[in-house]
Symmetry: C2
Subunit: 253 residues, 2 copies
Amino acid sequence: MHFTHNKSKYILMLTKSHIKLIASLSQKKFRTQHQLFIVEGLKGIKEFLNSSFELHQLFSVENVFNVEAILVSNQELKKISSLKTPNTALAIFKMPKLKPINENVLVVALDNVRDPGNLGTIIRLCDWFGIKDLVCNSATVDCYNPKVVQATMGSLSRVNISYLDLPQFLKEIKVETFGTFMNGKNIYIQNLPKQGVIILGNEANGISESVEAVIDKRISIPRFGDTQATESLNVATATAIALSEFKRGFTEM
Amino acid sequence: MHFTHNKSKYILMLTKSHIKLIASLSQKKFRTQHQLFIVEGLKGIKEFLNSSFELHQLFSVENVFNVEAILVSNQELKKISSLKTPNTALAIFKMPKLKPINENVLVVALDNVRDPGNLGTIIRLCDWFGIKDLVCNSATVDCYNPKVVQATMGSLSRVNISYLDLPQFLKEIKVETFGTFMNGKNIYIQNLPKQGVIILGNEANGISESVEAVIDKRISIPRFGDTQATESLNVATATAIALSEFKRGFTEM
Protein backbone atom coordinates (compact mmCIF):
# COMPACT_ATOMS: atom_id res chain seq x y z
CA MET A 1 0.00 0.00 0.00
CA HIS A 2 1.54 3.30 -1.02
CA PHE A 3 -0.52 6.15 0.29
CA THR A 4 2.34 8.41 1.14
CA HIS A 5 3.06 10.00 -2.20
CA ASN A 6 -0.63 10.83 -2.64
CA LYS A 7 -0.96 12.35 0.79
CA SER A 8 -1.10 15.93 -0.45
CA LYS A 9 -4.40 15.15 -2.14
CA TYR A 10 -6.17 14.37 1.11
CA ILE A 11 -4.70 16.82 3.55
CA LEU A 12 -7.28 19.43 2.58
CA MET A 13 -10.14 19.96 5.00
CA LEU A 14 -13.63 21.33 4.89
CA THR A 15 -13.47 24.85 6.36
CA LYS A 16 -16.03 27.42 7.42
CA SER A 17 -15.36 29.43 4.32
CA HIS A 18 -16.14 26.40 2.13
CA ILE A 19 -19.43 25.92 3.96
CA LYS A 20 -20.27 29.61 3.58
CA LEU A 21 -19.43 29.60 -0.14
CA ILE A 22 -21.49 26.45 -0.81
CA ALA A 23 -24.48 27.84 1.09
CA SER A 24 -24.28 31.13 -0.82
CA LEU A 25 -24.34 29.30 -4.18
CA SER A 26 -27.96 28.29 -3.59
CA GLN A 27 -28.74 31.89 -4.53
CA LYS A 28 -28.54 33.20 -8.07
CA LYS A 29 -26.89 36.50 -7.14
CA PHE A 30 -23.96 34.76 -5.46
CA ARG A 31 -23.66 32.25 -8.31
CA THR A 32 -23.40 35.18 -10.70
CA GLN A 33 -21.00 37.08 -8.43
CA HIS A 34 -18.63 34.10 -7.98
CA GLN A 35 -19.31 32.60 -11.45
CA LEU A 36 -19.59 29.22 -9.72
CA PHE A 37 -22.33 26.60 -9.35
CA ILE A 38 -22.89 23.29 -7.59
CA VAL A 39 -23.23 19.76 -8.96
CA GLU A 40 -24.22 16.89 -6.64
CA GLY A 41 -24.00 13.15 -7.12
CA LEU A 42 -21.40 10.91 -8.74
CA LYS A 43 -23.08 10.59 -12.13
CA GLY A 44 -23.57 14.32 -12.63
CA ILE A 45 -20.09 15.22 -11.40
CA LYS A 46 -18.55 12.62 -13.70
CA GLU A 47 -20.36 14.10 -16.71
CA PHE A 48 -19.17 17.61 -15.82
CA LEU A 49 -15.59 16.41 -15.23
CA ASN A 50 -15.67 14.85 -18.71
CA SER A 51 -16.98 18.07 -20.26
CA SER A 52 -15.38 21.39 -21.07
CA PHE A 53 -16.45 22.73 -17.64
CA GLU A 54 -13.68 23.55 -15.19
CA LEU A 55 -13.76 22.14 -11.66
CA HIS A 56 -13.34 24.66 -8.84
CA GLN A 57 -13.52 22.32 -5.86
CA LEU A 58 -14.62 18.76 -5.10
CA PHE A 59 -15.89 17.47 -1.75
CA SER A 60 -16.20 13.71 -1.45
CA VAL A 61 -16.60 11.00 1.18
CA GLU A 62 -14.24 8.77 -0.79
CA ASN A 63 -11.66 9.27 -3.47
CA VAL A 64 -13.75 8.24 -6.48
CA PHE A 65 -12.45 10.60 -9.15
CA ASN A 66 -8.85 11.00 -10.16
CA VAL A 67 -8.80 14.68 -9.16
CA GLU A 68 -7.91 16.62 -6.04
CA ALA A 69 -10.72 16.24 -3.53
CA ILE A 70 -11.46 17.52 -0.05
CA LEU A 71 -12.42 14.41 1.89
CA VAL A 72 -15.49 14.92 4.05
CA SER A 73 -17.45 12.70 6.44
CA ASN A 74 -21.01 11.64 5.62
CA GLN A 75 -22.19 14.11 8.27
CA GLU A 76 -20.22 16.95 6.70
CA LEU A 77 -21.58 16.08 3.26
CA LYS A 78 -25.10 16.12 4.65
CA LYS A 79 -24.41 19.57 6.09
CA ILE A 80 -23.28 21.08 2.78
CA SER A 81 -25.72 19.18 0.54
CA SER A 82 -29.11 20.44 -0.55
CA LEU A 83 -30.31 16.87 -1.11
CA LYS A 84 -32.23 14.82 1.44
CA THR A 85 -29.98 11.84 0.78
CA PRO A 86 -26.64 13.23 -0.41
CA ASN A 87 -24.79 11.05 -2.83
CA THR A 88 -21.05 10.62 -2.00
CA ALA A 89 -19.85 13.90 -3.48
CA LEU A 90 -20.53 17.59 -4.09
CA ALA A 91 -18.60 19.65 -6.62
CA ILE A 92 -18.28 23.34 -7.36
CA PHE A 93 -17.74 24.10 -11.04
CA LYS A 94 -16.91 27.32 -12.81
CA MET A 95 -19.56 28.75 -15.10
CA PRO A 96 -18.36 28.48 -18.68
CA LYS A 97 -17.64 31.46 -20.86
CA LEU A 98 -20.60 32.00 -23.15
CA LYS A 99 -20.04 31.20 -26.78
CA PRO A 100 -21.57 33.40 -29.47
CA ILE A 101 -24.99 32.18 -30.64
CA ASN A 102 -24.94 30.36 -33.99
CA GLU A 103 -27.96 31.71 -35.83
CA ASN A 104 -27.56 29.44 -38.84
CA VAL A 105 -29.00 26.37 -37.17
CA LEU A 106 -32.04 25.72 -34.97
CA VAL A 107 -32.16 27.74 -31.76
CA VAL A 108 -34.64 27.21 -28.89
CA ALA A 109 -35.88 30.28 -26.98
CA LEU A 110 -37.72 30.33 -23.65
CA ASP A 111 -39.99 33.15 -22.49
CA ASN A 112 -40.64 33.08 -18.71
CA VAL A 113 -40.26 29.34 -18.13
CA ARG A 114 -40.26 29.15 -14.32
CA ASP A 115 -40.16 25.51 -13.29
CA PRO A 116 -36.62 24.10 -12.75
CA GLY A 117 -37.76 20.61 -13.73
CA ASN A 118 -39.16 21.90 -17.02
CA LEU A 119 -35.96 23.81 -17.83
CA GLY A 120 -33.89 20.74 -16.95
CA THR A 121 -35.98 18.55 -19.27
CA ILE A 122 -35.77 21.15 -22.06
CA ILE A 123 -31.96 21.29 -21.75
CA ARG A 124 -31.84 17.47 -22.03
CA LEU A 125 -34.09 17.66 -25.10
CA CYS A 126 -31.83 20.29 -26.72
CA ASP A 127 -28.89 17.96 -26.12
CA TRP A 128 -30.78 14.97 -27.60
CA PHE A 129 -31.84 16.87 -30.71
CA GLY A 130 -28.44 18.47 -31.26
CA ILE A 131 -29.56 22.03 -30.44
CA LYS A 132 -26.41 23.94 -29.50
CA ASP A 133 -27.99 27.21 -28.40
CA LEU A 134 -30.76 27.81 -25.88
CA VAL A 135 -31.67 31.46 -25.28
CA CYS A 136 -33.80 32.55 -22.32
CA ASN A 137 -35.33 35.83 -21.28
CA SER A 138 -34.03 37.01 -17.90
CA ALA A 139 -37.22 35.93 -16.06
CA THR A 140 -36.67 32.29 -17.05
CA VAL A 141 -35.36 30.18 -14.15
CA ASP A 142 -31.54 30.22 -13.83
CA CYS A 143 -29.94 27.22 -15.52
CA TYR A 144 -27.42 26.95 -12.65
CA ASN A 145 -30.24 26.56 -10.11
CA PRO A 146 -29.34 23.29 -8.28
CA LYS A 147 -32.66 21.68 -9.26
CA VAL A 148 -32.03 22.45 -12.93
CA VAL A 149 -28.45 21.14 -12.75
CA GLN A 150 -29.78 17.95 -11.10
CA ALA A 151 -32.49 17.49 -13.75
CA THR A 152 -30.14 17.97 -16.73
CA MET A 153 -27.95 14.95 -15.88
CA GLY A 154 -24.94 16.54 -17.54
CA SER A 155 -26.67 17.83 -20.67
CA LEU A 156 -26.05 21.32 -19.28
CA SER A 157 -22.40 20.93 -20.26
CA ARG A 158 -23.30 20.41 -23.94
CA VAL A 159 -25.77 23.28 -24.52
CA ASN A 160 -24.77 26.96 -24.70
CA ILE A 161 -27.36 28.85 -22.63
CA SER A 162 -27.66 32.64 -22.95
CA TYR A 163 -29.88 34.95 -20.87
CA LEU A 164 -30.79 38.05 -22.82
CA ASP A 165 -33.45 40.57 -23.86
CA LEU A 166 -35.63 38.14 -25.83
CA PRO A 167 -37.79 40.62 -27.83
CA GLN A 168 -34.60 42.47 -28.84
CA PHE A 169 -32.85 39.22 -29.84
CA LEU A 170 -35.82 38.06 -31.93
CA LYS A 171 -36.15 41.46 -33.59
CA GLU A 172 -32.51 41.48 -34.68
CA ILE A 173 -32.12 37.86 -35.74
CA LYS A 174 -32.23 37.20 -39.50
CA VAL A 175 -33.78 33.73 -39.49
CA GLU A 176 -37.51 32.97 -39.11
CA THR A 177 -38.98 32.82 -35.61
CA PHE A 178 -41.69 30.26 -34.68
CA GLY A 179 -43.83 30.81 -31.60
CA THR A 180 -45.83 27.93 -30.07
CA PHE A 181 -49.41 28.99 -29.30
CA MET A 182 -52.74 27.31 -28.57
CA ASN A 183 -54.21 28.80 -31.74
CA GLY A 184 -51.38 28.78 -34.29
CA LYS A 185 -51.09 26.84 -37.52
CA ASN A 186 -50.96 23.04 -37.34
CA ILE A 187 -47.25 22.20 -36.88
CA TYR A 188 -47.70 18.89 -38.78
CA ILE A 189 -48.49 20.59 -42.08
CA GLN A 190 -45.89 23.39 -42.00
CA ASN A 191 -42.67 23.53 -43.93
CA LEU A 192 -40.20 23.68 -41.09
CA PRO A 193 -36.73 24.96 -42.00
CA LYS A 194 -33.32 23.69 -40.90
CA GLN A 195 -32.62 27.06 -39.28
CA GLY A 196 -34.81 29.29 -37.19
CA VAL A 197 -35.84 29.99 -33.61
CA ILE A 198 -38.55 27.95 -31.80
CA ILE A 199 -40.07 29.97 -28.93
CA LEU A 200 -41.89 28.42 -25.95
CA GLY A 201 -43.69 30.41 -23.30
CA ASN A 202 -44.60 30.37 -19.63
CA GLU A 203 -46.25 27.30 -18.01
CA ALA A 204 -49.49 29.14 -17.23
CA ASN A 205 -49.59 32.16 -19.52
CA GLY A 206 -47.75 31.11 -22.66
CA ILE A 207 -45.72 33.59 -24.70
CA SER A 208 -45.77 37.19 -23.42
CA GLU A 209 -47.12 40.07 -25.51
CA SER A 210 -43.76 41.75 -26.06
CA VAL A 211 -42.33 38.52 -27.49
CA GLU A 212 -45.47 37.71 -29.48
CA ALA A 213 -45.16 41.08 -31.19
CA VAL A 214 -41.86 40.11 -32.84
CA ILE A 215 -42.66 36.50 -33.82
CA ASP A 216 -42.88 35.62 -37.54
CA LYS A 217 -45.00 32.44 -37.44
CA ARG A 218 -47.52 31.06 -34.97
CA ILE A 219 -47.56 27.26 -34.72
CA SER A 220 -49.61 24.77 -32.67
CA ILE A 221 -49.52 21.11 -31.77
CA PRO A 222 -53.07 20.00 -32.61
CA ARG A 223 -55.20 18.28 -30.00
CA PHE A 224 -56.66 14.90 -31.00
CA GLY A 225 -58.76 14.21 -27.92
CA ASP A 226 -62.22 15.49 -26.97
CA THR A 227 -62.50 19.24 -27.18
CA GLN A 228 -64.30 19.39 -23.81
CA ALA A 229 -60.95 19.33 -22.06
CA THR A 230 -59.21 22.67 -21.75
CA GLU A 231 -55.81 21.38 -20.76
CA SER A 232 -52.73 22.52 -22.57
CA LEU A 233 -49.58 20.46 -23.05
CA ASN A 234 -46.83 20.85 -20.49
CA VAL A 235 -44.07 23.15 -21.86
CA ALA A 236 -41.39 20.43 -21.75
CA THR A 237 -43.70 18.00 -23.57
CA ALA A 238 -44.50 20.66 -26.18
CA THR A 239 -40.76 21.27 -26.64
CA ALA A 240 -40.22 17.54 -27.22
CA ILE A 241 -42.89 17.39 -29.94
CA ALA A 242 -41.82 20.67 -31.60
CA LEU A 243 -38.15 19.63 -31.73
CA SER A 244 -39.10 16.22 -33.10
CA GLU A 245 -41.14 17.92 -35.87
CA PHE A 246 -38.37 20.37 -36.81
CA LYS A 247 -35.70 17.67 -36.89
CA ARG A 248 -37.52 14.58 -38.24
CA GLY A 249 -36.97 15.54 -41.88
CA PHE A 250 -33.22 15.74 -41.38
CA THR A 251 -32.73 12.33 -39.84
CA GLU A 252 -30.03 9.93 -41.03
CA MET A 253 -31.32 6.51 -41.90
CA MET B 1 -80.26 35.49 2.60
CA HIS B 2 -81.94 32.08 2.61
CA PHE B 3 -79.71 29.57 4.25
CA THR B 4 -82.38 27.62 6.08
CA HIS B 5 -83.61 25.35 3.35
CA ASN B 6 -80.07 24.37 2.51
CA LYS B 7 -79.13 23.60 6.05
CA SER B 8 -79.14 19.84 5.63
CA LYS B 9 -76.19 20.18 3.30
CA TYR B 10 -73.95 21.63 6.00
CA ILE B 11 -74.94 19.73 9.10
CA LEU B 12 -72.50 16.95 8.25
CA MET B 13 -69.27 16.86 10.22
CA LEU B 14 -65.80 15.45 9.82
CA THR B 15 -65.63 12.28 11.94
CA LYS B 16 -62.89 9.95 13.06
CA SER B 17 -64.01 7.36 10.55
CA HIS B 18 -63.67 9.91 7.72
CA ILE B 19 -60.13 10.68 8.89
CA LYS B 20 -59.29 6.99 9.07
CA LEU B 21 -60.72 6.30 5.62
CA ILE B 22 -58.85 9.22 4.03
CA ALA B 23 -55.58 8.18 5.66
CA SER B 24 -56.03 4.60 4.47
CA LEU B 25 -56.54 5.74 0.86
CA SER B 26 -52.90 6.80 0.66
CA GLN B 27 -52.20 3.07 0.31
CA LYS B 28 -52.96 1.11 -2.83
CA LYS B 29 -54.37 -1.94 -1.03
CA PHE B 30 -57.01 0.16 0.74
CA ARG B 31 -57.85 2.07 -2.46
CA THR B 32 -58.42 -1.27 -4.15
CA GLN B 33 -60.39 -2.65 -1.21
CA HIS B 34 -62.70 0.38 -0.97
CA GLN B 35 -62.62 1.16 -4.73
CA LEU B 36 -62.11 4.80 -3.75
CA PHE B 37 -59.39 7.41 -4.35
CA ILE B 38 -58.62 11.00 -3.36
CA VAL B 39 -58.57 14.19 -5.43
CA GLU B 40 -57.28 17.43 -3.90
CA GLY B 41 -57.65 21.02 -5.04
CA LEU B 42 -60.52 22.93 -6.63
CA LYS B 43 -59.40 22.56 -10.23
CA GLY B 44 -58.93 18.80 -10.08
CA ILE B 45 -62.17 18.21 -8.15
CA LYS B 46 -64.09 20.33 -10.65
CA GLU B 47 -62.77 18.28 -13.56
CA PHE B 48 -63.74 15.01 -11.84
CA LEU B 49 -67.20 16.36 -10.91
CA ASN B 50 -67.71 17.22 -14.59
CA SER B 51 -66.62 13.75 -15.67
CA SER B 52 -68.27 10.34 -15.57
CA PHE B 53 -66.64 9.68 -12.16
CA GLU B 54 -68.95 9.39 -9.19
CA LEU B 55 -68.33 11.46 -6.06
CA HIS B 56 -68.21 9.53 -2.79
CA GLN B 57 -67.61 12.39 -0.36
CA LEU B 58 -66.47 16.01 -0.49
CA PHE B 59 -64.71 17.92 2.29
CA SER B 60 -64.42 21.66 1.81
CA VAL B 61 -63.65 24.82 3.77
CA GLU B 62 -66.34 26.66 1.84
CA ASN B 63 -69.33 25.70 -0.24
CA VAL B 64 -67.75 26.09 -3.68
CA PHE B 65 -69.40 23.29 -5.62
CA ASN B 66 -73.11 22.75 -5.94
CA VAL B 67 -72.96 19.33 -4.27
CA GLU B 68 -73.31 18.03 -0.73
CA ALA B 69 -70.13 18.83 1.19
CA ILE B 70 -68.82 18.25 4.66
CA LEU B 71 -67.61 21.66 5.79
CA VAL B 72 -64.23 21.56 7.49
CA SER B 73 -61.95 24.16 9.06
CA ASN B 74 -58.58 25.00 7.51
CA GLN B 75 -56.95 23.08 10.34
CA GLU B 76 -59.10 20.02 9.68
CA LEU B 77 -58.31 20.18 5.96
CA LYS B 78 -54.61 20.38 6.76
CA LYS B 79 -55.00 17.28 8.92
CA ILE B 80 -56.62 15.16 6.20
CA SER B 81 -54.62 16.57 3.26
CA SER B 82 -51.41 15.08 1.90
CA LEU B 83 -50.38 18.46 0.47
CA LYS B 84 -48.11 20.93 2.24
CA THR B 85 -50.50 23.75 1.41
CA PRO B 86 -53.97 22.20 1.06
CA ASN B 87 -56.22 23.90 -1.39
CA THR B 88 -59.80 24.53 -0.09
CA ALA B 89 -61.17 21.05 -0.69
CA LEU B 90 -60.49 17.29 -0.70
CA ALA B 91 -62.78 14.81 -2.41
CA ILE B 92 -63.14 11.04 -2.38
CA PHE B 93 -64.24 9.60 -5.72
CA LYS B 94 -65.30 6.10 -6.68
CA MET B 95 -63.05 4.22 -9.06
CA PRO B 96 -64.81 3.80 -12.38
CA LYS B 97 -65.81 0.43 -13.78
CA LEU B 98 -63.24 -0.56 -16.37
CA LYS B 99 -64.41 -0.49 -19.94
CA PRO B 100 -63.30 -3.19 -22.37
CA ILE B 101 -60.13 -2.26 -24.27
CA ASN B 102 -60.77 -1.13 -27.84
CA GLU B 103 -58.06 -2.87 -29.87
CA ASN B 104 -59.01 -1.24 -33.16
CA VAL B 105 -57.36 2.10 -32.37
CA LEU B 106 -54.02 3.11 -30.88
CA VAL B 107 -53.33 1.77 -27.39
CA VAL B 108 -50.43 2.82 -25.13
CA ALA B 109 -48.84 0.15 -22.90
CA LEU B 110 -46.47 0.73 -19.96
CA ASP B 111 -44.00 -1.84 -18.67
CA ASN B 112 -42.74 -1.05 -15.13
CA VAL B 113 -43.08 2.74 -15.23
CA ARG B 114 -42.45 3.66 -11.58
CA ASP B 115 -42.44 7.44 -11.28
CA PRO B 116 -45.88 8.97 -10.45
CA GLY B 117 -44.97 12.20 -12.27
CA ASN B 118 -44.10 10.27 -15.43
CA LEU B 119 -47.36 8.29 -15.32
CA GLY B 120 -49.31 11.51 -14.74
CA THR B 121 -47.65 13.16 -17.75
CA ILE B 122 -48.28 10.07 -19.90
CA ILE B 123 -52.00 10.05 -18.96
CA ARG B 124 -52.21 13.75 -19.95
CA LEU B 125 -50.51 12.92 -23.25
CA CYS B 126 -52.95 10.06 -23.93
CA ASP B 127 -55.79 12.51 -23.32
CA TRP B 128 -54.23 15.12 -25.64
CA PHE B 129 -53.66 12.63 -28.46
CA GLY B 130 -57.08 11.00 -28.12
CA ILE B 131 -55.78 7.65 -26.82
CA LYS B 132 -58.70 6.00 -25.01
CA ASP B 133 -56.89 3.00 -23.56
CA LEU B 134 -53.74 2.88 -21.47
CA VAL B 135 -52.68 -0.59 -20.33
CA CYS B 136 -50.09 -1.13 -17.60
CA ASN B 137 -48.34 -4.16 -16.20
CA SER B 138 -49.05 -4.64 -12.50
CA ALA B 139 -45.64 -3.27 -11.44
CA THR B 140 -46.39 0.11 -13.01
CA VAL B 141 -47.25 2.77 -10.42
CA ASP B 142 -50.96 2.87 -9.47
CA CYS B 143 -52.88 5.51 -11.43
CA TYR B 144 -54.89 6.37 -8.29
CA ASN B 145 -51.71 7.19 -6.37
CA PRO B 146 -52.35 10.77 -5.08
CA LYS B 147 -49.25 12.10 -6.89
CA VAL B 148 -50.46 10.65 -10.19
CA VAL B 149 -54.00 12.02 -9.69
CA GLN B 150 -52.48 15.45 -8.93
CA ALA B 151 -50.25 15.34 -12.03
CA THR B 152 -53.02 14.33 -14.43
CA MET B 153 -55.11 17.47 -13.84
CA GLY B 154 -58.34 15.64 -14.67
CA SER B 155 -57.10 13.75 -17.73
CA LEU B 156 -57.44 10.60 -15.60
CA SER B 157 -61.20 10.84 -16.04
CA ARG B 158 -60.91 10.61 -19.83
CA VAL B 159 -58.51 7.66 -20.22
CA ASN B 160 -59.48 4.02 -19.51
CA ILE B 161 -56.55 2.55 -17.56
CA SER B 162 -56.24 -1.24 -17.18
CA TYR B 163 -53.67 -3.13 -15.10
CA LEU B 164 -53.04 -6.57 -16.52
CA ASP B 165 -50.56 -9.27 -17.47
CA LEU B 166 -48.76 -7.34 -20.21
CA PRO B 167 -46.93 -10.19 -22.02
CA GLN B 168 -50.20 -12.16 -22.10
CA PHE B 169 -52.14 -9.13 -23.41
CA LEU B 170 -49.57 -8.46 -26.14
CA LYS B 171 -49.47 -12.13 -27.14
CA GLU B 172 -53.23 -12.30 -27.60
CA ILE B 173 -53.85 -8.94 -29.27
CA LYS B 174 -54.36 -9.05 -33.05
CA VAL B 175 -52.89 -5.64 -33.97
CA GLU B 176 -49.18 -4.89 -34.35
CA THR B 177 -47.15 -4.08 -31.25
CA PHE B 178 -44.37 -1.44 -31.30
CA GLY B 179 -41.74 -1.40 -28.56
CA THR B 180 -39.55 1.68 -27.97
CA PHE B 181 -35.89 0.72 -27.62
CA MET B 182 -32.51 2.45 -27.78
CA ASN B 183 -31.57 0.34 -30.80
CA GLY B 184 -34.78 -0.08 -32.80
CA LYS B 185 -35.63 1.19 -36.27
CA ASN B 186 -35.80 4.97 -36.82
CA ILE B 187 -39.40 5.94 -35.92
CA TYR B 188 -39.33 8.80 -38.47
CA ILE B 189 -39.06 6.48 -41.46
CA GLN B 190 -41.55 3.77 -40.42
CA ASN B 191 -45.05 3.30 -41.71
CA LEU B 192 -47.03 3.77 -38.55
CA PRO B 193 -50.57 2.40 -38.58
CA LYS B 194 -53.78 3.90 -37.19
CA GLN B 195 -54.14 0.93 -34.87
CA GLY B 196 -51.59 -0.88 -32.76
CA VAL B 197 -49.95 -0.86 -29.35
CA ILE B 198 -47.03 1.44 -28.44
CA ILE B 199 -45.02 0.02 -25.53
CA LEU B 200 -42.77 2.08 -23.25
CA GLY B 201 -40.52 0.63 -20.58
CA ASN B 202 -39.04 1.35 -17.19
CA GLU B 203 -37.20 4.65 -16.50
CA ALA B 204 -33.83 2.95 -15.92
CA ASN B 205 -34.05 -0.46 -17.56
CA GLY B 206 -36.41 -0.01 -20.50
CA ILE B 207 -38.70 -2.81 -21.65
CA SER B 208 -38.39 -6.09 -19.73
CA GLU B 209 -37.35 -9.36 -21.40
CA SER B 210 -40.74 -11.05 -21.06
CA VAL B 211 -42.42 -8.12 -22.83
CA GLU B 212 -39.65 -7.77 -25.42
CA ALA B 213 -40.19 -11.42 -26.38
CA VAL B 214 -43.73 -10.75 -27.63
CA ILE B 215 -43.16 -7.40 -29.41
CA ASP B 216 -43.57 -7.27 -33.21
CA LYS B 217 -41.53 -4.17 -34.08
CA ARG B 218 -38.66 -2.37 -32.38
CA ILE B 219 -38.64 1.40 -32.89
CA SER B 220 -36.33 4.21 -31.72
CA ILE B 221 -36.34 7.97 -31.56
CA PRO B 222 -32.99 8.85 -33.17
CA ARG B 223 -30.51 11.01 -31.36
CA PHE B 224 -29.29 14.10 -33.22
CA GLY B 225 -26.71 15.35 -30.74
CA ASP B 226 -23.14 14.21 -30.15
CA THR B 227 -22.83 10.50 -29.66
CA GLN B 228 -20.47 10.99 -26.70
CA ALA B 229 -23.49 11.43 -24.44
CA THR B 230 -25.08 8.25 -23.22
CA GLU B 231 -28.30 9.79 -21.93
CA SER B 232 -31.64 8.33 -22.94
CA LEU B 233 -34.85 10.31 -23.27
CA ASN B 234 -37.14 10.49 -20.26
CA VAL B 235 -40.04 8.01 -20.68
CA ALA B 236 -42.71 10.75 -20.67
CA THR B 237 -40.76 12.72 -23.28
CA ALA B 238 -40.36 9.59 -25.41
CA THR B 239 -44.12 8.97 -25.13
CA ALA B 240 -44.81 12.52 -26.35
CA ILE B 241 -42.63 12.09 -29.42
CA ALA B 242 -43.90 8.57 -30.22
CA LEU B 243 -47.57 9.62 -29.94
CA SER B 244 -46.90 12.68 -32.09
CA GLU B 245 -45.33 10.44 -34.76
CA PHE B 246 -48.16 7.90 -34.74
CA LYS B 247 -50.86 10.58 -34.91
CA ARG B 248 -49.34 13.29 -37.13
CA GLY B 249 -50.47 11.66 -40.36
CA PHE B 250 -54.08 11.64 -39.23
CA THR B 251 -54.34 15.30 -38.33
CA GLU B 252 -57.27 17.43 -39.49
CA MET B 253 -56.23 20.62 -41.20
